[in-house]
Symmetry: C2
Subunit: 349 residues, 2 copies
Amino acid sequence: LQEQPIQVREEVIGLLEDREQARFIIDLLPYDEDVAGGLMQKELVKANVNWTVNECIEEIRKQAEDVEKVYAVYVVDDNQTLLGLISLKNLVLARKNTKIGNIYDEDIHYVETYRPVEEVSEIMQRYDLEAIPVVNVQKRLLGRITIDDVLDVIIEKAEEDIQAISGITGEVEEDDNLWQQVKGRLPWLIVGVIGSLMAATVIRVFEGELSKIAALAMFIPIMGSTGGNVGIQTASLIVQALADKSGLEISWKERLLKIIVIASLNGLIIGLLAGLYVLVFSETQLVWVVSLSLMAVVLLASFMGTITPLILDRFGINPAVASGPFITTANDLVGIGTYFLIAHFLLKM
Amino acid sequence: LQEQPIQVREEVIGLLEDREQARFIIDLLPYDEDVAGGLMQKELVKANVNWTVNECIEEIRKQAEDVEKVYAVYVVDDNQTLLGLISLKNLVLARKNTKIGNIYDEDIHYVETYRPVEEVSEIMQRYDLEAIPVVNVQKRLLGRITIDDVLDVIIEKAEEDIQAISGITGEVEEDDNLWQQVKGRLPWLIVGVIGSLMAATVIRVFEGELSKIAALAMFIPIMGSTGGNVGIQTASLIVQALADKSGLEISWKERLLKIIVIASLNGLIIGLLAGLYVLVFSETQLVWVVSLSLMAVVLLASFMGTITPLILDRFGINPAVASGPFITTANDLVGIGTYFLIAHFLLKM
């Protein structure tokens, strides 16, 4: 959504006849924080392709105060179009009167202003770059992004994900004041309470069954918690795959099949374990109810853990939210409903 | 624990008379992966303090093939002791016959081989360093750590934390084979099942109460899930504070007081909400049981969410594990036990 407007905007500006005027407008346009244009610094050292190494060094001297860290000098033509770069190492080693045009590196990585920050960070990580030049759609050099800025973004993202998984909203820190802490925790707690009260309503529907076989109540917790645990596990692997862009290459059919097989295996083992407990410590008539319900719950929770982050991601919501209380609550409800339905039919009550 | 041996080891080696022999031993000693010595690259460009800029540039030329990225030249004395550095920018700007000793920067950051990687990463982030020199206890230059290596460590750590929170063991990726995926999920699922079966046993103890008031079963889910949600929220903030080393400066008494106040506020709101539901949809005699139990559960879960990561951290276990299924399971059990105990005494059954 956000890529289009910036791209179009710059193409329109590129059509303006008056170059000075166009550049003035560009300078005034604010970029969103989450695209390359919003993260870049305008301070950098650039050199014209026709300069000599000596002229280039003089330029560094001029810029030395503005540009704290110089990793490379970007090489541009008369229109400020990015042609390549020359690393400081090579500049040190070059003869003073060599033409920049003869020694610069043409094969470099750069990003357009409208690229999402995640993409920039991925490119810089993949190619171990300490800085990357930022250009507009006409490939004109506008700025550069350094690794320390990207690092901050990555760390912030990781903290946000962990907070989302933990059901904390906003940027709560352990040393925030009381009200901020309460405010950050309450929303998801209330969602959880509402979900649990819906579960209470489901149980109420089956009160007749419960009053006949009180032991049914014993296995309410295992349905809720197993559903929650399986859901979180599945969702967090999907979230990770979404972030890596890896693993998402396999087809939908393949993915679903794989998830069903994994869930069936886990469900079988858990179902057997719980069935054994029922056999020894509870009423034998419940063995099949508990075992089958658990298998169904594991399957359903895996399915929900898979689709929830994908749906959230599609709607532009951080999919990590899906690994949090949302999925626990939903699976509590689904798990308990499944359990009582299976009990109802198997026990023919 | 690990700092001591390396430190002692190097001090002992430092005492060896035969310098060549000592260096030979040092080269053979392996460093753990999680300390600076294990992460550093030995390839770097260094210059003797007595050299001229020109000699320094010749050294870069010699090393150019071995050292891919040169950010700075490290300045050492005849004993290879780190004195400071000269940035490539300043080297480019300096006159060829200037003595290095006159222009190098003495006020630099460096780390000892035995420093934990987290500490190195923190220093590099705080001071926006793209590389940091690594020295032994005699301050002799041994290598350098570059930001891309640290970045990998940070990202890996974040992924590990998220997997720990999600109850996945080992390094599971979404495109791993089936058996690895099952193996990564089963351990915590089984812990969850065992916890839930213990909860089942608790409920079994109160079967008499349940058969008298079947509606008691309705609020089993809310006790478990609220305890779990509160526990995860609290634990994840403690884990974050542990990682930042911030927020941990406040005293134990202060921290506990704060947590009690936050928990009381959240517990009050949740208790009221659930009490209202009971009043409208269930038996009025349960209003106080449910409300009071929920408040107690929120308090207990906050307390457990606080101490569990601190205890794990003390024993060298990744405290993020505490934000995962471990705390959900424990709080399920505690929550349900508390609920039935309060029901037992309030309803005088």
